[in-house]
């Protein structure tokens, strides 16, 4: 790692101020950022730790019945505290990385980083969640803008994510055997007014909604409804763990299995 200063603000306001420093970068759980720093792939001069900000931690229900999760909430907490209100989301959180990673990694960090193979973005997108920052609220559909790219401005912090709770939902993950990140994972959420399907791990453009499947499932919520559908393998990631065509195939299989699990 290159050396850097660490600031530890205790409020969102102070964190935003600290992030105004030259070459400052937020540090949330650090489970991706610290390995990145070790590889000297980033060179911040200041890391602003968000861990000490109490107002960014915790889970609650808002008046609209949305599950609201503070950006600094670790996966282990989500796995426990959301289990009743949104079991599919809790199940996703309970299977990110490994137990030690889940004790440090946060939803805000995951969403802000938008790793193309991260778990959370699929839930955020499929749930039609709202990403809350220190400055504004951003709809999930506008938030994710391609691999490692989001609508966040420089120095903007994800303070909360508000999840509308679907009638039912399921996350189906197929792991890459080395990293244990999803090779392909699909989050299917059935709402009263339609079905949303979000796919992670697969695409060169990061997490995406599979609209064709959504249309088919909104008309007929059954595994058969998606069995004839496919995504284009040429726009999928192709690497030593699987070709684009294989990932495209898995998108279909994971979607079908997620739906079957809800039948």
């Amino acid at each position: 790692m290159y050396d850097f200063d660490v600031e530890k603000p205790t409020s969102i306001a102070d964190a935003v101020k600290a992030l105004g420093r030259e070459e400052a970068q937020p540090l949330s759980g650090g489970q991706t950022l610290i390995p990145t720093l070790k590889a000297r792939l980033a060179m911040p001069s200041v890391l602003v730790s968000l861990k000490g900000i109490a107002e960014m931690r915790g889970v609650c229900l808002d008046d609209d019945g949305r599950v609201c999760i503070g950006g600094g909430t670790v996966h282990a907490t989500v796995a426990k505290e959301v289990a009743t209100h949104y079991p599919a989301l809790a199940g996703l959180a309970a299977r990110i990385g490994d137990p030690a990673v889940r004790n440090r990694g946060t939803i805000g960090g995951s969403v802000a980083n938008n790793d193309p193979s991260a778990c959370y973005p699929s839930a955020v997108l499929a749930s039609g969640a709202t990403v809350v920052t220190n400055a504004r609220e951003i709809a999930a559909d506008d938030f994710f803008q391609g691999m490692f790219a989001t609508a966040l401005d420089e120095g903007e912090i994800v303070t909360e994510v508000k999840f509308p709770v679907p009638e039912k939902a399921h996350y189906e993950k197929f792991i890459q055997p080395a990293s244990r990140f999803p090779l392909v994972a699909v989050f299917v959420a059935k709402f009263a007014d339609g079905v949303r399907v979000a796919v992670t791990g697969a695409s060169e453009d990061g997490v995406f909604r599979w609209t064709e499947a959504e249309t088919a499932l909104s008309a007929n919520f059954s595994a058969e409804a998606v069995s004839g559908l496919s995504v284009d393998g040429s726009s999928m990631i192709s690497d030593l763990h699987g070709s684009g065509d294989y990932r495209a195939h898995l998108v279909g299989v994971m979607t079908k299995r997620a739906v079957a699990a809800l039948a």
Binding site: M1, Y2, V6, G30, I34, A39, S49, P99, A100, R104
Partner: protein
């Protein structure tokens, strides 16, 4: 350099660290607690697992300054007060759950976090809980068996020697 202060294995500890100093390095280099090992740099192998405020974390993926003020427990704190092996350590010895010993501190710390959360885990639960702990020697058989035994479950049916 920043000064950090924390409680490590029940004793107060402090030292000057750079921003980039990892908790694992602080434990090993400043405090000479070399039982915590570093086996990778991508946060996967788990040889560095310690408990921070009662929870298992990878000490190589946490900055020392982030542990300022925390309660840290390492492998050096696990044995009984009289120095004898605790129930998990004893099960690892009884069931040959270690060979070269390098991953062992992390395995024991993870196992102890598991049993605190889930006192009677199933075999599958044990195996999945160890997703972040890599062992190259044992093939995991005797580690899983030791953890099941440490939880008080009967492992006599699980092949033996």
């Amino acid at each position: 350099m920043t000064q950090v202060k924390m409680t490590v294995n029940g004793k107060s500890a402090s030292g000057d660290v750079e921003g980039r100093t990892l908790l694992a390095s602080f434990l090993r280099d400043n405090l000479k607690l070399t039982g915590t090992h570093i086996g990778c740099d991508t946060s996967q192998c788990g040889a560095c697992v310690v408990h921070v405020n009662g929870e298992a974390v990878k000490s190589c993926t946490m900055l020392a300054v982030e542990a300022d003020g925390a309660e840290v427990m390492t492998i050096e704190s696990v044995a009984n007060a009289d120095g004898s092996l605790n129930v998990i350590q004893q099960a690892f010895q009884d069931h040959h759950g270690l060979q070269c010993g390098f991953c062992t501190p992390g395995m024991v710390m993870s196992a102890s976090a598991l049993l605190k959360e889930n006192p009677k885990p199933t075999e599958a639960e044990v195996r999945h809980y160890l997703d972040g702990n890599i062992c190259r020697c044992t093939g995991y058989h005797n580690i899983v068996k030791a953890i099941l035994a440490a939880s008080g479950q009967d492992v006599s049916a699980l092949a033996a020697e």
